[in-house]
Subunit: 331 residues, 2 copies
Amino acid sequence: MRKRATAKQVAEAAGVSKWTVIRAFTPGASITEESKRKVLEMAAALNYTPNLLARSLATNSTRQVAVFVDDFANPQKLPFLETLTEQLQAAGLVAMLININNHFDHVNALLHADQRQVDAIILFGTAFRDETLTDLQLGHGMPPMFVLARDSQIDGVPAVVCDAELALRDIVRHLYERGYRRPGFMSGAAALSTALRRRQHYLEFWAQHSIQNISLLSADRYSADAGAASVRAYLASTPAKKRVDVLMCENDILALGAMDEIRGNFGLKIPEDIAIVGFDNYELGGSYGYGLTTYEQPREEMVRAVVSMIKGAVEPETVTLPGRLVVRSST
Amino acid sequence: MRKRATAKQVAEAAGVSKWTVIRAFTPGASITEESKRKVLEMAAALNYTPNLLARSLATNSTRQVAVFVDDFANPQKLPFLETLTEQLQAAGLVAMLININNHFDHVNALLHADQRQVDAIILFGTAFRDETLTDLQLGHGMPPMFVLARDSQIDGVPAVVCDAELALRDIVRHLYERGYRRPGFMSGAAALSTALRRRQHYLEFWAQHSIQNISLLSADRYSADAGAASVRAYLASTPAKKRVDVLMCENDILALGAMDEIRGNFGLKIPEDIAIVGFDNYELGGSYGYGLTTYEQPREEMVRAVVSMIKGAVEPETVTLPGRLVVRSST
DNA sequence: TTGTATGCGTTATCAC
DNA sequence: GTGATAACGCATACAA
């Protein structure tokens, strides 16, 4: 197994000192064209590239960003991860994907990211109690943190989110104009749900139409199965006359599960019997089978905002970006 | 901003040498209980944890694994990433997620992973020409590589795959027993398609029933839209009498798109007019709306196999694991 | 412009 | 069991 060539070896081969080799690989360093050419030539021959590990140790900057994720059920995570990795890589950064679960919690992840000296931490759709940081006594000295796609709730940690107030205003206005008057809302896992603020604003805007009596359903996870189970329990226990005429689900994957249950198991029609709204604009929701009315988050812009802050191009601060309502046949 | 404490600082504070500090953090090192206790105490007070960056440089092992992904359209990637990160983390490893795209190709990714000194590279559903390695002149000296969820096609690089032959044997037997005799097959992106070998074995097993005339459709990507477009073109150009009676799609996401198109746009019935089979057992395929017959890959086992090889627990070699047929209403 | 010394924080190896 | 020396590969500051 060939070992990687080092600057020293290239230096010897090129008949210069190893610092000259370093200079050849340092943009804007003072070095003559001649020796730079000579070094790069030998480097190519020996297949030398700088060891980023050693560089990181010396510069105290790894150009790695830890991305914490704790819920892989929502397919919406995937395009976000795609956009995120793409933009990070374009900025010369690379993502360390860290799975937060029962065996590896936030504290583990934070310590690990810190030990690896990452340049930043992105809490993607996840977060922890504010006290966790103070408990760890490493509030300072930690890599800068950012929350993506949910509210921060952590002091001094900025968030990048889709404007929930604007979104729900548009959604409720749309529903009201279509004539719906008996709204319901299905939320997912409690912890995340409050941080998304979708339910809060949903209730708020219906209240502005003097509609306060809103049925609240809840799913225990953000998955199609959980959405189906939740609506099943609701329909089974609620006589037809008392049912909602429109049900908003906290995200598309819940909505899709709910729609399947409503039509498949209960034989009801959407939107005639019950209209459905989701959130995220997941690809399948747009298909003929579903035609789900939903709201699209400004993914590219959200990711761009986080990456800009990580790069230091803009001051870290909470950013709220507008998305867009996508009306289809389910309402 | 507090800087991380170092072993040296802890040593001074504890009145020992820094090597004793290291020993306190090295399982099985020879050190008295007394000094170990003293060191750990001071370490806790100073909030010291070993710097993994420096450790990596010294040990020549980063405990990081690069994961290459080039297609984020298939929602099946997400549970795989979940399982993969979980098992890697359980083994003390962490995943570096690298997005292979037009701006960051395999060569970039390989060089980058090498420069970062990762312990291994997982090509997850992606691969490159065999010559890429020799072109780079770094065939040796590279971190060990593994291909996950597709054939390897690279000399000396083992793959971990679902047994396509077994899978297609089961699928075709099922279809034959149900009485279908005019099969079709929809493949996705050409590069991946051949590596999955699904079409190959599909044709092979139908041939054993003396059925050779198989309609071949192709989608340009693995997405619901592409699946819909492909089947739309086929149906539009094929008179009802000449159509297939069963269409197998290379994966579920293609199948779901195709089903929507078949029912929604053409008003055909599934499975009466056309039966559909997918591959992957994506959650939504199991819903009432779809009831998609499909084949489930042994995800946990596949990931376990790769991680075992990376850990060095088992010899690296291509592994082929059996999945299971999931029969639903679409056939 | 180029070479030298020193530091980054750890591990490996050897004396004591 | 403990301390000391060398090494990992690069970057920074300084001297020539």
